[in-house]
């Protein structure tokens, strides 16, 4: 029992630290990718190739003056970034980061917890994440912050629906709500992207919207709203908001890789590697490679597409994605009936 708890504790800490580390270096990667896509070279002063830039940014964030507006609601003002950071860190626990390690006869799955409603847990945490933005935006007592917060909430609610429908089609296909089981099913080339291409497209668009990333970054649209919901934030509270966004991006990439791209499965890997532990570790490595690709994809999209106008955003969400995702559910059902998987 005790060893079980220590093992889970260590796993939680590892997941937490890895999320933070990857989020930290995502900020660096974002600047590098942006620079490279624009024929520049990006940060290169702090350490070789600017590799220490995130540390420098972190120190800067901590050292900066902390301003809490006089007219703001102080408790809620502090609560906002806390919730944003908390919900961002909470999602990592249901994602299977790798196969099962067997050390001295004990089995150690590389997943913090495999609850049987893993996908719903993900959706639930994501839907709570909006409170961080809303509370922070409202507590600032600033019209730009409020507008940003309102935009964020309506955007996230709208896209959650299409995301939910996309996941329903996926769940119909896999027949389980557990993230680990979905991951286990995708051995070889049986990746869900092949069975659910439309669902994947809808899911990734919604993932962009849920993480408030470009082209859906209207909540923090600089040209109209200054900084959006974090206009009044400074120092590490602002850092938390920005950091939460990057953690969300990492987790979204992990979810996409797990749900649609085979998770820690790599085709034909089993033919070359026969040791189960080596296979599990290699699987994790490949999972992270997939995740990094999607993080890059998030950035790639950001530096390619311009921002949506607000009515276009709502039009896309309600009039295109939701009917499309319903259609996807119907098609999935019909195909399952035709292939004889349901009677």
């Amino acid at each position: 029992m005790v060893s079980f708890i220590t093992y889970k504790l260590i796993l939680v800490i590892i997941v937490f630290l890895v999320s933070l580390l990857i989020a930290m270096y995502s900020t660096y990667a974002e600047r590098k990718v942006a620079a490279f896509l624009q024929d520049r070279i990006g940060p290169n002063r702090a350490g070789p190739f600017g590799i220490l830039q995130p540390l420098a940014d972190g120190v800067k964030m901590f050292m900066k003056e902390e301003i809490i507006p006089d007219v703001s609601n102080k408790w809620l003002f502090i609560l906002g970034p806390c919730i944003a950071m908390l919900t961002a860190c909470m999602t990592g626990v249901v994602i299977p980061w790798g196969g099962v390690l067997t050390i001295r006869g004990h089995e150690y799955p590389m997943q913090v917890t495999d609850i049987n409603i893993g996908i719903l847990y993900l959706l639930g945490v994501v839907s709570i994440g909006v409170y961080g933005i809303m509370i922070g935006g409202w507590a600032s007592n600033n019209k730009y912050s409020l507008l940003g917060a309102l935009r964020a909430s309506s955007q996230m609610i709208s896209y959650e629906l299409a995301m939910g429908f996309a996941i329903i089609a996926l769940v119909m296909h896999t027949g389980t709500l557990s993230v680990r089981e979905i991951s286990e099913m995708q051995t070889g080339w049986h990746w869900n992207i092949i069975y659910q291409p439309l669902g994947f497209l809808i899911f990734i668009i919604c993932a962009f919207a849920e993480t408030n990333r470009a082209p859906f970054d209207l909540p923090e649209c600089e040209s109209e709203l200054i900084g959006g919901y974090h206009t009044e934030y400074s120092s590490m509270k602002l850092g938390f908001y920005l950091f939460a966004e990057y953690i969300n991006m990492f987790i979204s990439s992990a979810v996409i890789a797990t749900l649609y791209f085979g998770g820690y499965h790599v085709p034909f890997l089993g033919r070359f590697v026969h040791d189960a532990n080596a296979l599990a570790i290699l699987g994790s490595v490949f999972l992270f490679a997939k995740i990094f690709f999607f993080i890059f994809f998030f950035m790639w999209i950001r530096w390619t597409l311009p921002r949506f106008r607000y009515d276009q955003l709502m039009h896309l969400g309600w009039k295109i994605l939701i009917p499309l995702s319903l259609l996807n559910v119907a098609i999935t059902g019909i195909l399952m009936y035709l292939t004889g998987r349901i009677h």
């Binding site: 490279f36 896509l37 624009q38 024929d39 070279i41 790639w300 999209i301 390619t304 597409l305």
Partner: protein, 198 residues
């Protein structure tokens, strides 16, 4: 036609592929990723320097003559010529024994250029009858305080031991003019020939 890439604009119904937007997005992604591997245009400044034009106009220098005396005579023509009114000076009379310091009988005891106002047009250089002021290929560094941008004689006059090369700025016409040794300011003095009559 200004460019070979111009396209005629027409408002017509979009085809299905166009209305899906996805092909257009993929096209955009292709364009951006192609830039990912292109040669970067950044010049890492302190290590690498951008090549300057031969006639680049940077920070001014107040020249000394062959024996190290300041050439400026505080005539004020540069200040008059300056379109940005960046130059101010206070003239003073040369005392006995200062012949090695100042070439002319009158000199500038204070000479200031406000680098925030200066537009680096080079008109001061054209106006100078004594070949005292030149613009060089040196960059005017940024500063933390506004006051540091007002350059006095300590920053403008070239050091005696390290003369600043301005040969690139001397055009054919200037060199031609310099051949006329009968003009006072073109005379080459040695230390013995110092003119000490008032």
């Amino acid at each position: 036609m200004l460019t070979n890439r111009s396209q005629a604009v027409a408002k017509k119904e979009m085809t299905l592929a166009e209305r899906l937007y996805l092909p257009a997005i993929l096209h955009g992604l292709k364009i951006t990723v192609s830039h990912f591997f292109k040669k970067k245009v950044t010049i890492k400044y302190p290590e690498e320097k951008r090549e300057f034009s031969k006639v680049y106009r940077g920070t001014h220098v107040l020249k000394r003559d062959e024996i190290g005396a300041e050439r400026c005579t505080a005539c004020g023509l540069c200040a008059v010529a300056c379109p940005a009114e960046a130059i101010t000076m206070v003239a003073a009379e040369r005392k006995k024994g200062e012949e090695k310091l100042y070439r002319e009988e009158k000199y500038a005891s204070v000479y200031e250029i406000n680098m925030l106002r200066c537009i680096f047009c080079g008109l001061c250089e054209d106006a100078c009858p004594k070949e005292a002021i030149f613009l060089t290929d040196r960059i005017t560094p940024s500063t933390f305080k506004r006051g540091e941008n007002i350059y006095g004689k300590n920053k403008l006059v070239e050091p005696i031991d390290k003369p600043i090369d301005i040969s690139a700025r001397q055009t054919q016409a200037v060199l031609e003019f310099k051949k006329h040794k009968e003009f006072a300011h073109n005379k080459v003095y040695t230390e013995k020939q110092l003119p000490n009559k008032h």
